[in-house]
Point group: C2
């Protein structure tokens, strides 16, 4: 017997309709590519999104077509988010840090029919034009300069086509399982792999991230997502803030500490979200100019493990509550979120920090499990680490156009994250490594992340990476690579002594090397593959 | 083109599975019918729910069957919530305040196959036994006394059948639109009408109520739903607290101020939810014993309009934040929630209170509109009042077994709430009346609720009800009925002068009468129908 409740599909257009109907006057602020500030409202975004849908339809965009963007976080990208998915087409957000080969791959693989780009990325758009796949190019700004580029002579001007179009458009209704957007994981090896989200998965994720124990997104906050809209839908923040009717502040290209601080202070931002490197830059700038954050109440940090020292600095020095979270492109992305429980109030600062450094507890909808090398499910004892697997209604079931590839990452209805993790009895999950980065020493695993956190808690260490290097007796032993903070000289012996207070003896790196910089991938992650290649023949002291 | 996300149905069993897997040790506390305190955990609830599912299956309960409960908020009722819906059967929660005729009607109409009852309600169960519909009766406690009642000789003992059953049970997977539970609205007139919820609507509502801007339900709180589990699924709190892994405190029959305060203090309750009358009792008790609430941080108030004076007392004297919310059985129930916006911080106390007295803004998923007598949609200007209509995925589309009745409440995909309301430009909705209670004076509407709030803000008035009485010239004019606070004498002239400071002249009641008590319906609402009957021939001064 079926229930007797209204049959209303979960559609992205319903989020925008809701924002327009009930939060029309709430502000949406963007930094433009030229540095100026643009002010509009959810009502303005909704009206322009309808105009954009008409303009795209006039270009021939039909349900299921892929419309690609290479763009910063700004109001035009936000209009594209809602218009493209809302009309039944698929929003393909391209990461501008992709290599030319990767760009060629994704544009061909997605068969993008339209490519919309910010002026910063005109060269990338011109490169994409040379592939002969995309039918229409649309410049979000500086149209004249863009159309002077080879291959972009016919590029359209975004504002012109939007303003010329009628705002009279009714969002179509369709099956909530319809594809809505496409993100490629620019992994550290192999071709990028496409994750194809649905309206259902996006709306369910939207409900989840606005929960009090998740990211707690709220109309009572002014929210600034520094996490890029070209990276896993900016963690779903654009949808969720529309759904709660909150004021949204979009930083455009201004991701440096100075630009961010200016925007935070001017717009009285209370809620920030982004990856650790962004906060390192912001903390550096705050320190340099001798300022403190005064309006910020919470900072969600994800994308890679947040060093405990950063949590401490943000909470103690700047009075912001850090929400440590974990997710992947394949998980929409929010999987786990770290909130302390009432009982943790009794713990001292160090013990609280040890919990906050974990990636947190699963959000309802996400199930986690750990399996060992033999496929056995491990207990949640906080000790044993295993392969982290996940399932839920906003977790990918396959990669786009690789549905029949029998990918071992998708087995028995679970997605294997490629991470190694522990789960403690209170269900706090902690990533100890990427499966391919774990250092295998004498049949036991050494967590490269733990080594790196220990190193980064030493004054004068800006960044650290631990990799396994071949060893005759132990198979692999850890080599620690450290980048000194600008202007600092590292005393290796003092660092070694510091590590001895933090690590069990057999985890101590066999060698420490100072390097100038770590190689970073398209999403800012350290390319350990590159480091392993570079240090492949490194001679550890035997 | 479909997205490539996992196909996981939204099922109530997945909430319990999640709580068991990730929040197994979190406590669930209940006050038993005998006043003692029972302590278990979400792990314990999940295990017993599986045993219960086996026990019910052994009694012959199959998918789609209705299992009725007449029970307080306690751990056994919680087990029934999850087991009955989880196994694919339908949980029919019966309000013990139904009249014998209404009880007869709903048991026949629902065709309940099993009826489970708390010992407080043994007489009601015995009455139900006389209907010859229910096949099995199950006593939640005091089984010996229950089976001595006529018709209940064969009643089973709940704990005995649960403990005898295996905990080995896998929750079945089925279509998320499957019916999960059934609540009858014991309206103030006509036969009760059944609202048949689905797993989908329940899980979506569960996500919504745990949002930061909704009820903000959290694992960081200790939550005590005073709202009964026999009333619109206790506003979804049992599901939502399981989904966030929070500590749940269930008050059993102890709804008086003294019992509640004892439980709040002992379990360090931080989050309360219930109807205004409950808080009036609690405030009365706190005042009588000279105590203050010290652990409570938020109190959600719904079910009927919350008088501003109550909000003020709870916030100013007891330091709790009041969350004023609105919903109906037909809306699962949460429709709107009142949270102030950052801009409201600039307002003075009186202006803030005026906003807090409104029923709040719609939760994403719920659309509201106002229509006038001609069916025209009215603007959101905060001035014009109209018929409040609502739609969304957790709103009823029809009443159970009246699907073909062409009920005018369900027209054009909207549900007509029967309420008269305004919506202001910030989307705060305010109920000004029930459509049938509005006082029609010379073609204009007078809000009975506004009159009652004005009266209740006068010291010495405990309760108030305004009704329209026939008037030769104006069609209807207001008569105000007031119940003095215990031990107080009301000075009617002073009350009248007070009202003159609060109301426009033509809204002033033509007469005020003191009465001893207001007639209340099964859910604690004032039965204005009774008052109108009693005062039908009342002679207003002309």
């Amino acid at each position: 017997m079926y229930g007797l409740m209204m049959d209303r599909p979960l559609l992205i257009s319903s989020i925008l309709d809701f924002a327009e109907r009930f939060h029309s006057a709430t502000e949406v602020i963007s930094r433009e590519v030229d540095g100026s500030i643009h002010r509009t409202t959810w009502g303005g975004i909704a009206r322009r999104a309808r105009q954009l849908a008409n303009a795209l339809a006039a270009l021939g965009v039909r349900a299921g077509d892929r419309v690609a963007t290479i763009a910063w976080n700004n109001h035009r990208h936000l209009e594209l988010y809602f218009a493209v998915s809302g009309m039944g087409a698929i929003l393909h957000t391209i990461n501008p840090r992709l290599s030319p080969e990767q760009l060629r791959y994704v544009v061909h693989h997605a068969e993008d029919t339209v490519l919309v780009f910010d002026s910063t990325f005109t060269k990338l758009a011109a490169l994409a034009a040379s592939f002969g796949v995309v039918k229409h190019f649309v410049a979000l700004s500086e149209h004249a300069a863009a159309s002077a580029e080879p291959g972009l002579a016919g590029a359209l001007d975004y504002d012109t086509i939007v303003q010329a179009a009628s705002a009279d458009y009714e969002w179509p209704t369709f099956d909530e399982r319809t594809a809505s957007s496409l993100c490629y994981t620019s992994g550290t090896s192999g071709d990028p792999k496409g994750v194809l989200y649905s309206h259902r998965s996006t709306v369910l994720h939207c409900y989840a991230v606005a929960q009090a124990d998740t990211l707690g997104l709220s109309a009572r906050d002014v929210t600034l997502p520094v996490v890029p809209m070209f990276h896993v839908n900016a963690w779903g923040v654009p949808y969720a803030i529309a759904s709660v009717g909150g004021k949204l502040v979009l930083p455009g290209p201004g991701l440096d500490g100075k630009s961010l601080l200016e925007l935070i202070e001017h717009e009285q931002v209370s809620c920030l979200l982004g990856v650790p490197t962004v906060w390192m830059n912001l903390l550096g700038h705050l320190h340099a100019v001798g300022k403190r954050l005064t309006t910020v109440q919470k900072i969600t940090i994800g994308g890679s493990a947040c060093p405990p020292s950063m949590i401490e600095a943000l909470e103690k020095e700047h009075g912001a509550r850090v929400i440590h979270a974990w997710g992947m492109t394949e998980t929409s992305p929010v999987g786990t979120v770290n909130m302390l429980l009432p009982k943790h109030a009794l713990l001292d600062d160090a013990a609280q920090l040890a919990i906050k450094a974990k990636q947190g507890r699963p959000v309802f909808g996400i199930e986690l499990r750990l399996i060992d090398e033999d496929g056995e499910v491990l207990p949640h004892d906080g000790q044993r680490s295993g392969h982290l697997q996940v399932r839920g209604p906003w977790v990918a079931s396959a990669y786009f156009r690789r549905e029949d590839a029998h990918d071992p990452a998708f087995t028995d209805g679970w997605f294997d994250t490629g991470d190694i993790a522990t789960i403690d009895p209170d269900s706090y999950m902690q990533i100890t490594d990427r499966a391919k980065d774990v250092i295998k020493s004498g049949g036991e695993w050494i967590s490269s992340i733990d080594l790196e956190n220990a190193a980064m808690s030493f004054p004068g260490v800006a960044q650290a990476a631990a990799i396994g290097v071949a060893h005759d007796k132990w198979q692999e032993r850890p080599l620690l690579l450290v980048v000194p903070a600008p202007g600092k000289t590292l005393a290796l012996e003092a660092l070694r002594q510091h590590l001895e207070t933090k690590l069990v003896k057999w985890w101590m790196p066999d060698a420490i090397e100072i390097i100038e910089a770590l190689p970073l991938g398209a999403t800012g992650k350290v390319l350990k593959r590159e480091l392993r290649k570079r240090f492949a023949s490194y001679q550890l002291p035997q």
